[in-house]
């Protein structure tokens, strides 16, 4: 089993490396080069040459890649083209805002969706299950900004209970923080909650068709025990995958939510970077999000391996 885990770890590293190649390589496919893109239409040959030298574009791609990757590993994320500031500085001050949002949303949505998913599975076919199925189906079909705007309209504009902008200050007390963060966290949670709940439910329901669940039912065990003791341990693998998938799905959710509520987070920086075509900034942000995503998937796979008795207890 340890060999399987080790192999999976190595695979993860390889994926990370591939990801970095794609991120770096994307900028290389550009017709012309980054310098041309930065200077745009009104460029002079002179300015181009200067900029190229400044950015080190006259060196071969492989050397620049090695340089860039080496820098990344040492925490040197390059210099922003738009602001001329080190990317690390720009990110450092904002990463906490994004992380806080994501962590709070995860802390709410993961346990809630598991509980609701199991509950729905236990009541499969009943009125509760059907209502929940409809609601979640609608929720996953709705854009995040719609949920955000509706919540904002109701709780910030009409009722005025909560804040529409998620700016927090270090001196805020709990309630001030709550007022500021409630709406973005709720929006983000909604976005992944429905997905995770539906997939938890179907993972468990899938197991219900197994002969061993019928066997357990014919032992006279109550539903709760059938679901929690017999179905759940076998549904763990798919559920871990679902959680990882949705936590990484939060990345796109966070981008929208930060825009809707004006959160000064990492993804706002990325979106601004994309519109200004600030390539070092885009690369750094992409690497950060990409790594988190890959690590989460890695974690889910390892947990799945650990949850499989066939691998834990070989013949």
């Amino acid at each position: 089993m340890f060999r399987i885990i080790l192999r999976r770890l190595l695979q993860g590293l390889l994926t990370l490396l591939l990801a970095s190649i794609i991120i770096f390589g994307a900028t290389e496919i550009l017709p012309g080069d980054v310098a041309e893109a930065v200077l745009g239409q009104n460029r002079t040959e002179e300015a181009l040459a200067t900029l190229r030298e400044q950015m080190g574009l006259d060196r071969p791609a492989i050397v620049r890649y090695a340089d860039w990757l080496g820098g990344m590993l040492q925490g040197d994320l390059g210099t922003s083209l738009a602001t001329d500031r080190p990317v690390a500085d720009m990110i450092g001050s904002r990463i906490w805002n994004t992380l806080r949002l994501a962590l709070l949303a995860a802390a709410i949505s993961v346990p809630l969706s598991l509980a609701l998913g199991l509950w729905a599975a236990m009541r499969a076919g009943g009125a509760v299950d059907k209502t929940m199925a409809m609601t979640t189906l609608a929720l996953i079909a709705v854009p995040e900004f719609f949920i955000g705007l509706v919540l904002m309209k109701i709780f910030a504009v009409e009722l005025g209970w909560l804040s529409a902008t998620a700016n927090t200050r270090p001196y805020y007390d709990f309630w001030q923080n709550f007022r500021a963060l409630a709406l973005p966290v709720a929006t983000l949670s909604f976005a992944v909650l429905a997905h995770m709940m539906r997939m938890t439910r179907s993972s468990v329901i899938n197991i219900f068709t197994s002969a061993y669940i019928e066997m357990a039912a014919l032992k006279g065990l109550p539903k709760r025990r059938l679901v929690l003791r017999h179905a759940l341990p076998n549904a763990l693998s798919p559920i871990f995958t679902v959680i990882a998938l949705n936590l990484s799905y939060m990345v796109s959710g966070v981008i929208i939510v930060e825009t809707v509520f004006g959160v000064p987070g990492l993804t706002r920086l990325l979106v601004d970077g994309v519109s200004l075509r600030d390539i070092p900034l885009i690369q750094a942000c992409a690497m950060i999000f990409g790594s988190v995503y890959i690590l989460l998937n890695l974690l889910a796979d390892i947990l799945s391996i650990l949850a499989n008795p066939r691998l834990r207890y070989p013949k």
């Binding site: 357990a216 032992k219 017999h230």
Partner: protein
């Protein structure tokens, strides 16, 4: 009144997905006394499983109990609340399913699952129940009774798991035990030990039992009374002795007639002389990935003859067919069709070679494309091999359907509109459309009911006589093979242990494995089980499980006549015996079982 269970006028309805309810069990009544075993027998769709579950007041998803009374220990359980009824399951009545491998939860230890029902119903604490379970394991002859409960289901062999399921069912001390085809999924050599264990434990505990099966020979061993069912209705009921020896109803007689006599009791056809064999397999080794399934297999199929390939699940008999067809390329060895060598890879074979050798699969329904009409299914090989189109093709399709005894109107049907037996006839017709010299039949009758299967065999025989086509007939069912094969090849763990004319193979001397296999085929004679289960051979066979890729003789670990020190390490010599028989065994010919 000592009836443990009494069912009166039971009606159960089933609903296909999206459809309306239709009756599947119609007005069935039965009763089981204390200590009595009642067998429900019938073909698929007879409702036997459904009735047995109804005895627990349970209906499978998509079914519902529409009427009738189910009296258990003097209470009509259909009048109880769902909760009260559910409380009886795993307490007063318990269940043994067909596949133990699927019915044990893979994520939980066996011991916990065995004592789960009594623990939940408050029959004792975990320690007492575990001690009782260990006692049960011992009675069921399970190896390592002390520690087997700590294992996970995937760590235990199929036959042991099936016995453990019996322990799971008996752990709550039920008044009624329901056994739903509990040995059907097992190989014959494993079936004996399990059957014996079931029978002993039922007798010893004096439990009433319902035994559901389609196998009359098995019924003869375990049942006191038999209830014959057809299409959800009762046909005949009586003591085992009366039903087996004096059946009153036509349907029962038909069922009995479809059962073939034991292989060694058949009048075997004499092998025919032939010049160049249609198919010759020489020293073939094959497998998937790093696993080797077949090693050094050689065999021949003479023109217009039937060669049976027999062996238990996992012995590589299906792989052999796939290797011949080119679906699984052989790693080593030669394959010759009509005396000409063909490539191992399918893509490298000329079209005539493909045409000459056709294959018919086990699962009749998955072998037909559900989105094509029968006319297209049969028309394609006609066009592909013979360039036949239009009117000519349509005429030939009608001819082919006629050849397999199906009406020409079936051409416009889809496979889903055909029964299992009809589908298998279409599969056969598709193979015949190519005008092949040999047809590879991979367990073609195993998924069919006995009566239907007998019809398909008759058809195969008549086609051979009329068209001169040869068959490689792969089956685990020795009786069927014995009834029409000219020659037989016995495979064990991917190797040929014995081959020769049927007459020679099914008569002494035998390879020890062939002997065990033949002895294990249940006979429709009461008391047969006791006679066979206590032999040294059966005991030796039950101690080991099939090992693939063994250094010496693969059967060494289960052989009663093993020569310790030789058999496990040295590959057995292949001996030619009189009568065209070939046996791979270390034993000198005179020491072989006779």
């Amino acid at each position: 009144m000592s009836d443990i269970l009494s069912i009166r006028n039971l009606r159960v309805e089933g609903r296909p997905p999206g459809g309306a309810y239709v009756p599947i069990v119609k007005d069935v009544s039965l009763s089981v006394r204390k200590g009595e075993v009642l067998a429900l027998i019938g073909e698929s769709g007879s409702g036997k499983s459904t009735i047995s579950l109804a005895a627990m007041g349970f209906a499978r998803p998509g079914c519902r109990i529409a009427g009738g009374e189910v009296w258990l220990n003097g209470y009509d359980i259909m009048k109880l609340s769902p909760r009260e009824r559910h409380a009886l399951r795993g307490d007063a009545v318990s269940y043994v399913a067909q596949s133990a491998a699927a019915s044990f939860n893979p994520a939980l230890r066996i011991g916990r699952q065995v004592i789960e029902a009594p623990l939940w119903h408050g029959a004792g604490d975990a320690a007492t129940l575990t001690a009782q379970a260990t006692e049960l394991y011992r009675k069921l002859d399970l190896p390592n009774p002390e520690s087997v409960g700590h294992r996970f289901p995937h760590q235990v062999s199929g036959g042991q798991l099936q016995r453990l399921m019996a322990a799971m069912a008996m752990s709550c001390g039920p008044d009624l035990l329901i056994l739903d085809e509990p040995t059907t999924a097992l190989d014959v050599t494993t079936q004996i030990e399990v059957l014996k264990a079931f029978k002993d434990i039922i007798r010893e505990q004096g439990t009433a039992a319902i035994y559901v099966t389609h196998d009359l020979a098995v019924v003869a061993q375990v049942a006191d009374r038999i209830l014959v069912l057809k299409d959800g209705e009762m046909v005949e009921e009586g003591t085992t002795d009366a039903i087996l020896h004096n059946p009153q109803h036509d349907y029962t007689r038909k069922l009995m007639a479809a059962v073939r006599p034991a292989p060694h009791l058949v009048d075997h056809v004499a092998a025919r002389d032939a010049d160049v064999p249609v198919l010759s397999v020489q020293n073939v080794t094959a497998g998937y990935g790093t696993v080797t399934i077949l090693s050094d297999v050689s065999m021949e199929v003479p023109r217009a003859s039937v060669v049976g390939v027999i062996g238990e699940s996992g012995c590589g008999k299906s792989t052999l067919a796939r290797v011949v067809a080119g679906l699984t390329p052989a790693r080593e060895g030669r394959i010759e069709l009509n005396g000409k060598q063909v490539e191992a890879e399918l893509d490298a074979r000329p079209r005539e070679a493909l045409r000459d050798c056709q294959m018919v699969f086990q699962m009749a329904d998955t072998a037909l494309n559900p989105r094509q009409r029968i006319r297209d299914i049969l028309g394609r090989p006609l066009q592909f091999y013979h360039g036949m189109t239009g009117r000519k093709q349509a005429d030939r399709v009608a001819e082919l359907l006629d050849l397999v005894d199906l009406p020409a109107s079936f051409a416009s049907r889809y496979p889903a509109e055909l029964s299992g037996g009809q589908k298998q006839r279409v599969n056969l017709a598709r193979a015949l459309a190519a005008d092949p010299r040999i047809i590879l039949c991979d367990e073609v009758t195993s998924a069919l009911d006995t009566v239907v299967a007998a019809g398909v065999i008759e058809l195969l025989k008549s086609l051979r006589d009329r068209l001169g086509v040869a068959y490689m007939f792969i089956s685990h069912d020795l009786s069927t093979v014995a009834s029409f094969a000219d020659e037989v090849v016995v495979l064990y763990a991917g190797r040929v242990v014995e081959k020769g004319p049927s007459k020679a193979v099914f008569q002494a001397p035998w390879h020890p494995y062939t002997h065990l296999l033949l002895a294990s085929v249940p006979e429709m004679r009461q008391g047969w089980l006791e006679g066979v289960a206590d032999t040294a051979e059966a005991r030796a066979a039950s101690t080991g499980s099939v090992q693939i890729g063994a250094k010496g003789c693969p059967f060494a670990n289960r052989c009663a006549k093993v020569i310790t020190g030789t058999c496990e390490t040295v590959a057995p010599p292949v001996r030619d015996l009189p009568g065209g028989l070939t046996i791979a065994c270390h034993l000198p010919p005179e020491a072989l079982p006779a």
